[in-house]
């Protein structure tokens, strides 16, 4: 499995050039403002706002839609369940299955909110190289230890993905097939155990190697951030949108 996170992080756009510290704070606030919306009348607006953010970022639309496709697949069963089990007024019946009005409106709310949130989240994520995002998180006062864990874990995920891939090939060559029986469970348990065992053993060596190179637990950043007036203007624009959104949510 190959994960391409920084594929489009170096394009040119107003969102790409935005200081990551400002970007993370403003767009996260926007995401939360989305999650506060409860009225159906506001849904078109939050959807349009997220689309505007997406268009401004100049990320390839096809790529973002591909990432959203998996989430859409997860949402289908939820929408079906929600609209047939919510209770309340029956809108119409499909043979014996009642479809409830309340469940249907709730599904609409959830689906639009989810997509609006995820579109903005993907824009936030994909317009900055991930290493720089981590440094920006540190710059906006995420604690040292958490930033370090995030940084190292991100590095080592790829190492263990490779280990898992090798183990799967080895299993395949020996004629293993995933099935629902004790043997399969035992094999999977074995994979988990040996992944963990390797990681614990490797961790000790990594620790010593890092200590020898002067690691003391402090997260040292090289990237310096400097905000210019455009960064403030963009933040102000997003803040305005958020205020209007929250105001209308409260007053409606």
């Amino acid at each position: 499995m190959h994960i391409e996170l920084d594929r489009y992080a170096r394009l040119k756009s107003p969102i790409h050039s935005w200081d990551p510290r400002f970007k993370i704070i403003s767009l996260s606030a926007l995401i939360f403002a989305f999650s506060f919306t409860k009225q159906l009348t506001l849904l078109p607006f939050i959807f349009v706002i997220s689309i505007i953010v997406l268009l401004l970022s100049r990320l390839p639309l096809l790529y973002i839609f591909k990432r959203l496709k998996y989430i859409a697949l997860f949402m289908v069963p939820m929408v079906i369940l929600l609209s047939t089990t919510s209770g309340g007024k029956v809108l119409f019946s499909l043979k014996f299955i009642p479809v409830y009005a309340q469940g249907l409106t709730m599904s609409l709310l959830v689906v639009v909110r989810t997509f609006a949130i995820l579109i903005v989240f993907f824009v936030m994520l994909e317009t900055t190289p991930f290493n720089r995002t981590i440094k920006a998180l540190h710059a906006i006062k995420m604690p040292d230890k958490l930033v370090s864990i995030l940084f190292f874990t991100y590095r080592y995920i790829y190492v263990y993905l490779e280990e898992l891939r090798k183990m799967r090939i080895a299993l395949k060559l020996r004629g293993y097939k995933n099935a629902m029986n004790y043997h399969s469970l035992k094999t999977n348990g074995g994979i988990v155990a040996s992944l963990l065992l390797r990681s614990f053993e490797q961790a000790e060596r990594i620790c010593s190697a890092m200590t020898l190179r002067g690691y003391t637990g402090k997260f040292i950043i090289r990237a310096q951030f400097r905000a210019c007036w455009q960064d403030y203007v963009k933040e102000f624009a997003v803040a305005l949108v958020i205020i209007i959104l929250l105001k209308t949510t409260c007053s409606l």
Partner: protein
């Protein structure tokens, strides 16, 4: 199992972040700086291990392993789970970013619980007891996470009550699988490197 974005109300999401921030602050204080690389590497291994799918009837489920995180990392399970969930949202786009705090609670609290349950082995160190405890940890961690998830779902409105019930029922077979996997992994580690379990 995690709650995705868009379901919960913004205030619940913020409260989730607040509570998990307290849990993170408390547990991170207990971690020494030298342990940070170790926790990270093990978190990466857990992240990858949770990509393993187990066949269940016509479909398959992925491993959750929060009980095992609790057994092996102790209090550090909370930052480990938080970072794991954050990376899941970042890398795969599912899991949820507004619900990151809530999901840290639903997965982390049962992990801590199983960490405490597993400590009973200090009083009864027989092998059969250790294996029994690991089975219980695996089961408790899933059913605890399912109960918390269902509770948060119900906070989203009464439309979600039936779905919350379905989530609970669907997690019963997962609980069994997870309990057996936890037991198998612990018995493997007991044979190969028992000091990891201390």
């Amino acid at each position: 199992m995690h709650l995705s974005d868009g379901i919960l109300d913004g205030s619940v999401c913020l409260a989730g972040y607040a509570v998990s921030a307290i849990m993170l602050a408390y547990t991170a204080k207990r971690i020494s700086n030298e342990d940070v690389p170790k926790i990270s590497v093990v978190t990466a291994a857990f992240f990858v291990a949770s990509l393993i799918h187990v066949k269940l009837g016509p479909s398959s489920v992925h491993l959750v392993l929060n009980g095992l995180v609790g057994i092996l990392l102790g209090l550090a399970a909370i930052p480990s789970i938080f970072i794991g969930l954050l990376l899941q949202a970042v890398v795969f786009g599912h899991g949820g970013i507004t619900t990151l705090g809530v999901n840290t609670i639903t997965m982390g609290v049962p992990a801590l619980l199983s960490c405490f349950i597993f400590r009973i082995k200090k009083i009864y160190p027989q092998k059969s007891m250790v294996l029994f405890l690991s089975f219980i940890c695996g089961a408790v961690s899933i059913i605890g996470a399912a109960l918390l998830t269902a509770a948060f779902l119900m906070s989203a409105g009464k439309e979600f009550f039936t779905i919350a019930r379905i989530v609970l029922l669907a997690n019963i077979p997962i609980m069994l699988i997870e309990a057996i996997i936890t037991l198998l992994v612990v018995s493997f580690l007991l044979k190969v490197k028992p000091q990891l379990l201390d």
